[in-house]
Amino acid sequence: MFVVDAWKRSGYFRVGSIMLAVLLAIAVLQPWLSQLALQNPDVSPMSMGTFEPYADPSLRHPAGTDKLGRDMLALLFLGIRVSMLIALIAGCTATGIGISLGFIAGYKGGWVDAVLRTGTDMVLVIPSLPLLIALAAYLPTISIPVMSLLLAAFAWPFTTRIIRSQVLTLKQRPFVDLARTSDQGDMSIIFLEIMPNLLPFLGVSVAVGMSSAMLAEIGLQLIGLGPASINTLGLMVQQSVQSGVLAIGKWWILFAPVSCLIAFFVALNLINIGLESAFNPRLRSVTGD
């Protein structure tokens, strides 16, 4: 399994996946952790005025409370869960689109490839944040799945390019020729011969998809045009910037969500570097192994 290989071969991968695992554990255990932090099963982390506003970090509130009297730690757990969920759905959807288009373009070649490649390049050229801002501003309601799909709609071109270039080189390999001369069908060549070689790249593209979805999500929220009903980490950053916590010296309210997000980006990036250096010998020099 490629994950085990990557784990053995790359220290970057080990560090990145441990970081991601911790975040994932928080996301999964959120309901329980949040009760632990709030010490009251009836209160939701989102409900306002539960505690005194702007309390400093203490044993009772390890990360303090925000302007609306919410416990920051419980809110943070919820934020990690929601952001992770959105990033996962968006990353996987984008990868799904990317795989399909990348395979069709790379495997079919010819005019199909030309059309798909030009289309992909055009989408890459159009600035995506403005489009997202516009969409988000004029959609009546945004739920978690809608948000994820919106973000996925702009994260697929990158995957398409990676998969296409890999398929292009793989389909020239002797084992694919062998499969073709032994009269295997296209589908069986794609799924049995080419796809297994692409698994590490799929890992890379899910990770890239997730971080670009995350990036876009924060962008949207920072501008204040994202949905205010979904408590993502991006929304927490925006709310603390909005209420000027830096100016009143309550910097931890801003840096709690920011550090979680940075941990998330760094984890995904390390996983990427690890996968690339373990499976792409030409890129091994990047990390100097």
Binding site: V125, P127, A134, G219, V258, L268
Partner: protein
């Protein structure tokens, strides 16, 4: 000479076609967003001047405004009219902001700020990343190089608005060294030949530029280092070593020179993406550039201005790739024209 001519012609055609294609996608995308900006604008005017206009007059006003904005008639009609206006007469039509001030004027007012802030910081980060990347690629096996490359790998994917927030906190609020908002001191007369004004412009740009540079340096540094590592393995460098040339000489004359070419492509591309990437840094610092302009345009659903800005970014990116495509074969003899 013949292959060169046909190469230039195909590239130029592709350039024009891509602009048109991307523009068309963007046009229909923004026009399919539901919303009636004209009525919203008129209502806002009514509230602002506490006037009530009766329905018939309001409808007439709306129709007149739509006609002047060029958003009356069916969508295909609007599309062809807009296309003709933009590409033949370079006219984007009026904008909602200070109606009927032309959208193009708004853009031209804000463009210099964005170009100054982001263009300068992109170039600075490229130079820094290139030089440092070259050095740590050549001298790989010491603690400082290892630390630098790992640090860059870690921070290279952090979005620049986070570094912006950190800079804001550290230098704006903690040490109170630098101004936190705007592009120049409003107390100083705005005059390009006034040294005090220029100084304040530079001072206000330090923090946002720093945020962009930090992340940008990391990217260039990583790619330069890996390029240098590959080049160092080449035969002609062994020969240079065997001749007994000094290491600094080898670094300057052989390594960095050969690493320069692909990196210049990278610089051109990132300059092309300048208008795309850093809206948020501008917004965090309230910098009066294209980012803030775009945000106000979106809030009003000001089609002409939105499309103008999008068209501008598309054109700049595509022009950057076009120029690279044109000049690389001239600079680099290894690239064959019929590829």
């Amino acid at each position: 000479m013949k292959p060169l001519v046909s190469y230039v012609i195909t590239r130029a055609l592709m350039f024009v076609l891509s602009i048109w294609g991307a523009f068309t996608l963007a046009f229909f995308f923004f026009h399919l967003i539901p919303g009636d900006p004209v009525s919203a604008y008129l209502q806002q005017l009514e509230q602002q001047f506490s006037q009530t206009v009766d329905a018939a007059d309001a409808a007439a006003m709306a129709a007149e405004m739509k006609a002047r904005l060029g958003i009356d008639g069916s969508l295909p009609e609007q599309y062809w009219r807009f296309l003709g206006n933009v590409f033949i007469r370079f006219d984007l039509g009026p904008s909602f902001i200070n109606f009927p001030k032309p959208a193009l004027e708004h853009i031209l007012e804000k463009l210099p700020w964005t170009l100054w802030l982001l263009g300068t910081s992109t170039i600075i980060s490229w130079i820094l990343g290139f030089v440092v990347g070259g050095i740590i690629g050549t001298f790989r096996n010491n603690f400082a190089s290892q630390f630098l490359i790992n640090f860059s790998l870690v921070i290279s994917q952090i979005p620049s608005y986070f570094t912006a927030l950190f800079a804001l906190f550290l230098f704006g609020y903690w040490f109170v060294l630098l101004p936190t908002k705007g592009a120049y001191d409003p107390g100083i007369e705005k005059d390009l030949f006034n040294p005090r004004f220029l100084l304040s412009v530079a001072r206000y740009a330090i923090m946002p530029a720093m945020a962009v540079v930090m992340v940008g340096v990391a990217g260039t540094l990583i790619s330069t280092r890996s390029l240098v590592t590959t080049i160092l393995g080449d035969d002609y460098l062994q020969f240079a070593h065997a001749k007994g040339l000094r290491r600094s000489h080898i670094l300057m004359r052989y390594v960095l020179r050969n690493a320069m070419l692909p990196q210049i492509t990278g610089l051109a591309l990132s300059l092309g993406f300048v208008l795309n990437g850093f809206y948020l840094v501008e917004i965090i610092f309230n910098y009066p550039g294209m980012g803030s302009l775009f945000l106000s345009a979106i809030r009003l659903l000001d089609y002409n201005l939105i499309l103008g800005i999008v068209l501008m970014s598309i054109t700049v990116v595509l022009a950057a790739t076009f120029i690279i495509d044109l000049f690389l074969p001239l600079i680099d003899p290894r690239i064959k024209l019929n590829d």
